[in-house]
């Protein structure tokens, strides 16, 4: 008797109906990230347009041009792929693609609800920040491989900006770790059942918000892709869908950072009502943070690079250290927090 090999169809069905695969492929994984990034592109354009007394995209739609970004997606996919003559083709193509993968990788760590969580790593917060740390390398690689002046300048600017704002980002999130006594994001949410961390960590939350906007390279910190100065910076040479990947990575990071802010400061999936509403609450808080960050774009102008670095390294770093001291005395003074 020969052992029959397992039925491939049965195996495939078993695999694609497993809970982990559904989470990885549908929500909060790949498919939902793609759709959310597309909707965020639309939301960004629409809100900015409203702030500037314009209408924004409106034709491709059942509702207010919401399908505009999907139309753009199809358009960009059918564009000709022009790669500059002297570019390093391998890294030129791979850098934005891996930037997108890295951005999407952040979502795996966010507990949208106790069940819809892909990876319950014990060191969730440092892993998230470590992924963020990798992205300036990819941006610099993208700028360098294009072998053109503006992308190179944009890549260098991105390196300075993201490294400069990284230490305040890390230090501001230390306050949360001190209060929760854990790196695990689910445990951080559980620790907030007595009160959201935004109250004892107000200073830290503000620093975290400012530095995370800088890490996402959004206005007012969009120096690496400043259109009037260095014509989209490191994205200047990207054609068609590679440009889409470079832009999409920014929106995926916006989603991930807003979700992280909602998780560590706004109590994540905690909220009134029965437990199955947890998913709704975390998405609701994430949406509020996303809209807040988009509104910043309408409210502020771009800062200069030397101002950016000076305030990042002196003001934000100093405030982050003060925040750690305040948190320490809070814990020593009121051990119940």
């Amino acid at each position: 008797m020969v052992d029959l090999p397992p039925d491939p169809i049965q195996m495939t069905i078993a695999m694609i109906t497993s809970p982990l695969f559904l989470k990885v492929a549908i929500f909060p994984g790949l498919t939902s990230i793609g759709i959310i990034a597309a909707i965020l592109t639309w939301l960004d354009r629409k809100i900015t347009a409203r702030v500037q007394l314009r209408i924004g995209p409106q034709y491709v739609s059942p509702f207010g041009g919401i399908l505009q970004s999907f139309a753009d997606l199809i358009k960009l996919a059918f564009k000709e792929l022009i790669i500059p003559e002297k570019a390093d083709r391998f890294f030129f193509i791979l850098a934005p693609v891996f930037g997108l993968v890295l951005g999407a990788g952040l979502i795996a760590l966010i507990p949208f609800s106790p069940e819809t969580l892909i990876s319950n790593v014990e060191v969730g917060l440092p892993v998230f920040l470590a992924f963020v740390t990798l992205s300036p390398t990819l941006v610099l690689l993208a700028g360098w491989s294009a072998n053109s002046k503006y992308p190179f300048i944009g890549g260098l600017r991105s390196l300075f900006q993201q490294t400069g704002y990284e230490i305040p980002l890390w230090l501001s999130s230390i306050g949360v770790v001190m209060l929760a006594g854990s790196f695990n994001l689910t445990k951080i949410v559980q620790a907030q059942s007595t009160g959201w961390f935004i109250l004892p960590q107000l200073l830290g939350a503000i620093i975290f918000l400012v530095t995370s906007v800088a890490e996402q390279e959004r206005i007012p910190f969009d120096l690496p892709e400043a259109e009037p100065e260095i014509i989209m910076g490191w994205q200047a040479e990207y054609p068609g869908f590679l440009f889409l990947a470079a832009q999409g990575a920014g929106f995926v990071k916006l989603y991930a950072f807003s979700a992280l802010f909602a998780t560590i400061y706004l109590g994540g999936y905690l909220g009134p009502g029965p437990q199955f509403l947890g998913l709704f609450w975390s998405l609701f808080k994430t949406t509020i943070m996303i809209v807040l960050v988009i509104l910043l774009r309408g409210a502020f102008g771009r800062v200069r690079l030397d101002q950016l670095l000076k305030y990042g390294w002196t003001l934000l770093l100093g405030l982050a250290i003060i925040n750690i001291a305040i948190t320490y005395f809070l814990i020593e003074g009121f051990p119940a927090i």
């Binding site: 790949l30 792929l81 790593v121 990284e166 770790v177 030397d306």
Partner: protein, 123 residues
Amino acid sequence: MVAEGIPELVYYLGFITVNTLALVVILILLVSPRDKKPTPVKRAPFESGQIAVGRGRTRFIIQYYPYLLMFVVYDVVAMFLFAWAVNLRTLGAAGTIPVLVFVSVLLVPLGYALHLANRPENW
């Protein structure tokens, strides 16, 4: 459990990497039109319509270099503070005083380095 969640994370990262790369390869090979004989102008680096002068990877004065040097040192320091923060409640004063000494010893050179880095005449 320290290893909890890591297989799922690796599975997820592998899944999205494979899918994104497959999508990119499909787009490059099948969807995106290619110009068989592109003109030199088409493949020239973009410089706002000007004819590109000189090399793309030019010599570029990195004026803000001191900030990068500080990053190399103080990123590691931030990681040490994470290790202290997570054990804060169990360590108590015995664990906090060495950290205070450690941070204050490192903050003095940081202040001096910032003092030098923030002065434009030193760039």
